[in-house]
């Protein structure tokens, strides 16, 4: 029984766990599932197929970006987003390691 975890959560876990916060919202899940493998989409395209306002989409994209789930790059006026496969895989594997589930 690890009593320490009631007070402090290890830094390594904290970085990993942001993925869960990011993916724990249905709107953000919908955004993620909108991407086809390898595809890059700009904010306007995501807003277009979303039921949310532009600023709400922007908010969710920020959370996904800060969690490392999405990467982005500005190209001219537009900002393109894409799935950071490496980061997502690494986070999920790290969680499995941490919880010793493999």
């Amino acid at each position: 029984m690890n009593r320490d975890y009631t007070k402090a959560i290890p830094a390594a876990w904290k970085n990993i766990s942001r993925v869960f916060t990011a993916l724990g919202d249905e709107h953000r899940q919908r955004i993620l599932l909108t991407f086809e493998p390898g595809e890059r989409l700009n904010v306007g395209q995501i807003v277009e197929v979303s039921t949310l306002s532009r600023s709400a989409v922007s908010h969710h994209l920020k959370i996904l970006r800060e969690a490392g789930v999405l990467e982005n790059e500005k190209v001219g006026k537009e900002v393109y987003f894409w799935l950071n496969k490496k980061q997502v895989r690494a986070s999920l594997v790290a969680v499995m390691d941490y919880l010793k589930v493999q």
Copy 2:
């Protein structure tokens, strides 16, 4: 670009994604990290090392149980919880498959 996902989320994904909702809360993460590999803890033990009230802990345990992250069994007066390793691993692997990140 998958436009369908803006309206409906596939059932398969929905089941998987409950894990994220469950693990997206820091209190629930703390509870999970309290378990040592293979360990079973009853509610009283978890409350004892938690900063939350008994009813709050009970609530979080319910969410973790409904997401399939924890399993439980009543033994006498006590209810013991343990990590459902198989389920957690399966969910995380399914997410990786779904997002084609491997």
